[in-house]
Symmetry: C3
Subunit: 482 residues, 3 copies
């Protein structure tokens, strides 16, 4: 027994092997082939994307092609798509030498995740009981992108410390957990969460935090030199920030009700985010001796308002209500970067590379609470009789639910998302701790060198350099590794 433990210890502490030439291709091939088979068995076009639409139209007395759901949702879908690949991808390029990993692995796991999400969400939400098929349309694509967002949030916590194989595993389980908690929250509890404060951000945030907590690296300081940003990488990351910020109104309105639902969600999110920017700047300036601003805050906390309005965006929270939510989110999220992140790392041993606790977890919880309160406070005088029914979908089994009850279920939904995030993350983290995934050694974290063929920037003038300059040259190279 003692031997076994010792053996295990040795096994775990041996020199890290980051060779992924076997695992990565195998995982990619096998999973992609699995996707093809499962899609072949389960996935079909829905009636609005099938050539039989011409018959559907005649049958349902639809007069114009423009009433195809495609025209209601495709512009929002494309905005969401940009958020997933450019927004999340570039936001994470702030590290001085991890741009390839940030954008490239984001690209990889999102591409896998959206396929798996179509299946998982399909099985839980839209499996036709008669045919056993899942019928997909543009709304399915948006939901798949949403589902992926949860995993990309989690990626932010472990950025630079895991291998692409670990990320794929993390995504596989993340999507699975997501589909289940989403089913519980939206279908069983019948909570509303169009922009995913709870379902996406709270879950994704705690999922990532739990994983990084399990994967705690006590000697991470060994790669401290790679952990910061440089001037250009910070400017680069603003591409991500801005595309997230600008398109967040599309994110929160992408799957809300046609007509006023989408319209209102976009307005609310637009206002809320504007308000967040001002308070983020205020707190960031307050936090420095001479009032200078910190790019970390501008890159991240300015987005917290969008997260926090994920649930309530479609409600009649009213324009000033949206501003108030943004106001507090900017403050809380920026304070999080200043006070809470160091505390989490030092005391709770949670190493959160991108600060997703401040950008997703906390604002997500705030969003859940805001949603619960505004739902509970909804009234027929504000919403109109039919408006109340439409907004909260008080139909079928839920046609007699009161707004107060709804508020309670909203709160319950938030708890579900936290529990799924924390417990699921802890379990998945333990799986990722197995020493078979090719993760980098502590001193090689945050370095693209490990998983990427880097362009050779130095070769050409190494031959003829006199010794003193050689040394100097060496200094320069270190410096140039921005």
């Amino acid at each position: 027994m003692g031997n076994c433990i010792q053996g295990c210890k040795d096994y775990f502490s041996r020199q890290k092997n980051t060779n992924i030439r076997l695992t990565l291709p195998v995982v990619c091939f096998v999973w992609q082939i699995a996707m093809i088979i499962l899609f072949g068995v389960f996935i079909r076009y829905d009636e609005e994307s099938d050539t039989h639409w011409v018959e559907t139209k005649a049958h349902e007395n639809i007069t114009s092609d423009i009433e195809n759901d495609f025209y209601f949702r495709y512009p929002s879908f494309q905005d969401v798509h940009v958020m997933i690949f450019v927004g999340f991808g570039f936001l994470m390029t702030f590290l001085k030498r991890y741009s390839f990993g940030a954008v490239g692995f984001n690209f990889l796991i999102a591409s896998f995740g959206l396929q798996w999400a179509l299946l998982m969400q399909g099985w839980f939400h839209s499996l036709d009981p008669h045919t056993g098929k899942i019928y997909i349309g543009v709304e399915s694509l948006i939901n798949a992108d949403f589902c992926v967002a949860g995993c990309l949030i989690a990626y932010g916590a472990v950025l630079g410390k895991v291998s692409p194989v670990q990320l794929l595993v993390m995504t596989l389980f993340g999507i699975t957990l997501f589909a289940v908690e989403e089913y519980i929250i939206l279908n069983l509890l019948h909570a509303r969460d169009a922009g995913g404060s709870m379902v996406i951000h709270t879950f994704g945030g705690y999922y990532g935090l739990a994983i990084t907590w399990v994967l705690y690296r006590p000697n991470l300081h060994q790669s401290k030199r790679m952990q910061g940003s440089v001037y250009h990488s910070d400017a680069f990351a603003m591409i991500g920030t801005l595309f997230l910020w600008m398109f967040w109104p599309s994110f929160n309105s992408a799957i809300t009700d046609h007509g006023d639902g989408q319209h209102r969600a976009a307005i609310n999110t637009y206002l809320c985010l504007a308000s967040t920017v001002l308070t983020t700047v205020a707190i960031s300036s307050l936090s420095q001796k001479t009032g200078k601003l910190d790019m970390v805050h501008i890159q991240n906390s300015t987005l917290a308002g969008g997260v926090a309005l994920g649930t309530a965006a479609e409600f009649m929270i009213s324009p000033y209500g949206a501003l108030i939510v943004g106001f507090f989110c900017g403050i809380i999220s920026t304070m999080g970067y200043i006070f809470i992140s160091p505390f989490l790392e030092k005391t709770l041993k949670i190493q959160d590379t991108c600060g997703i606790h401040n950008l997703h977890a906390m604002p997500g919880v705030i969003g859940g609470i805001v949603g619960a309160i505004t739902a509970a406070a909804a009234s027929e005088s504000v919403y109109g009789k039919q408006g109340l029914i439409n907004t909260f979908d008080f139909t079928g089994d839920f046609k007699d639910r009161s707004v107060l009850t709804q508020g309670g279920y909203q709160a319950a939904g938030m708890c579900v998302s936290i529990v799924f995030g924390v417990v699921g993350g802890a379990i998945v983290g333990s799986i990722l701790k197995l020493p078979i995934w090719g993760d980098p050694a502590d001193e090689n974290c945050f370095d693209d060198e490990v998983y990427w063929e880097l362009p050779d920037e130095e070769e050409e003038h190494q031959e003829s350099i006199p010794p003193i300059l050689e040394y100097n040259n060496h200094m320069i190279h270190k410096q140039q590794d921005l």
Copy 2:
């Protein structure tokens, strides 16, 4: 009296204090709270974004949700939104060491500006006399973004020379002036200006030029080393240029009439901009000994055609007419960078960092003139009877206006925008001259160091460097400050 003047002089010429730790947070907090209160009092959802839309639909016999204005305008809105935050923001990153300020302050003032614009434009254009409320929808958001564009243009003139507090003050007054001149031009004079050649670009251009004229810095050459671009910052700025260029058809068509109005405005702007690129390249190449191209021209003058078609985009200017406008704008704008900008700086003491005179002021005036001429030349044979009425909105009080009269009012509108820009800018400039705003000293202009915590790129290898290399290293650092 003499003492007083001496005292004032001393006060003004003392060492600059760029500490904004008090002013910036106070301004952000107070103004944001003011916004919340004013929104609470005045701003409500309009009938298309309110849950009562279901009743409106029934009442107005609207058969499908797709006829909600959201679906007519939201894609264009998002394009405009990208222009405001990514377009304007990144266009200004061309300076070697002012990317944070360019993108970050652009972000800050646009976020404040759009809130204030919703109020100001609401009071002037859409205050309901019965309820005392302003009802907002997607078109209000577009107009708010437009309004902000005027102030961001002005930012281009003072880029690198002012503090964020000054920028916020400049925005507060800029939005206010904008709403008034817009009211005069569009409502009182009943001029047409869908893409804002006059209202946005001419006003914004002269507003910024007047401010920078008042804030003239005779010793700006002290920060000459920071004033240029470097290779990467120039490439970076092309992100801004291209997003502005590509989405300009959306800008000019965003608030034109449903149907053919939006369709035609997009086509005209698309063609006009293509033509501008060719003549910009031609003049740029002509201006250099060996025909090399200058990035400053490509980044800026290629956009002049969009500015100049702001007024006439929705008219029947015809495709070749749009090409002609673009043809001349490319020439004039590029010539402006080569000849007029140096003249303005040397003779008129106008230090125009981004050359907004060439990109916005002049093309804006051209746009106003083009608009006046094409309006005056409009005929029933070309437009059709109803088409003429729709295009120029000859209804209500204006139903008997002739196209010639309309042309005259268009020209009058342009004069109003120039006067508001110049006079308003001069006054606001004087306010910004007060020594309380934390603006940078002449030798610190164009340097992010002043208002931003910059990542520490050099620390790690300063300890063990031998003296000769230290010196050398110092050279390198200077060099590396790209």
Copy 3:
């Protein structure tokens, strides 16, 4: 005779003159003026963008402005527009010192090309026989952008080795050839090719390859130092990759049928591209000793799926079918970069800077084959009777065509596009070989220095540097020329 040959040889081998101060402005001005005249003679607004639309609506009993084609296609158009200018432009910035040329010349030739394309495509596809006019609307703009894409693909093969004047000539002929082959394929053969696997990618690919084959430079190794990427340029190029990747569903669905046609094309492309990413990563990892990924593959091969689904995207290829196409394209395209590109360069003397053979030519041919097979395999049971007619446009002269025949014509179409590309490219290449176009010498290829005024990054500290450091400094500069 011998003398003449010698004279010619001397003429061709003399010192290269890259002065384009005469040719570039002349070409730009003359061509732009020609465009204005031709637009004046031929181009008019179509009925949906004309002020007479109000009458058309009444006449055709259209109840709502939302049925204007603008609202069906404008969001897709803007996505395509971004692909053309940002996507293609930034994808080519991967070279360490050719970002200005990549983005800037892309901008120039696309701006000229789209004007010329409106005319050429108009003459061939939509010249009104009665009025002799071409009527344009949003679909014409999309088609013009598509046409330009063919030439931008060809630019990828000669990137860094030609002058802007050559590029303009190449575009002039490219657009012309494109319009003819498109007319033959789509109109005469009545093949379907909504996303342009054959018409755009196969043609553009072989056109560029043939040109670069004719322009073969045996001594290109002299500019080897400039031929690679650096860390930042690779990250920059990912902006291009991602915008192409994200918006490809819009590309393939932009001009498909209203309703289910656009809906299905977007879904298919979305799925296909996701699948491509996984197999690209797998093969890229397999190709390196330790499983590291290569940015060249990630930047390019991930897009091959979009190319290969250009023809079949609107067909009922079914979701798993789309995944299968993507699966193989990722493999083949990445293999192309590893094995075929070196072979082409060494054996066939084809110097293909961006590897367009792997990204466009091969996947384009695959797309043509997939299209032919899926067309031949179409059945009424899958498509529905009316669906089959709509999808393949079996109306008018073609109303009795069988799906098998259709499959044959699809295959014939692909041959036409290859022939046009190869023969046309060889001829145009010969024209571009004339020594009058100002192309760079072998040792100056891939260097922005030749055609651009570059910012002066070194000036300030050259005076006082001691000799030893001078040398060292020189090294640094070389190094800094990233």
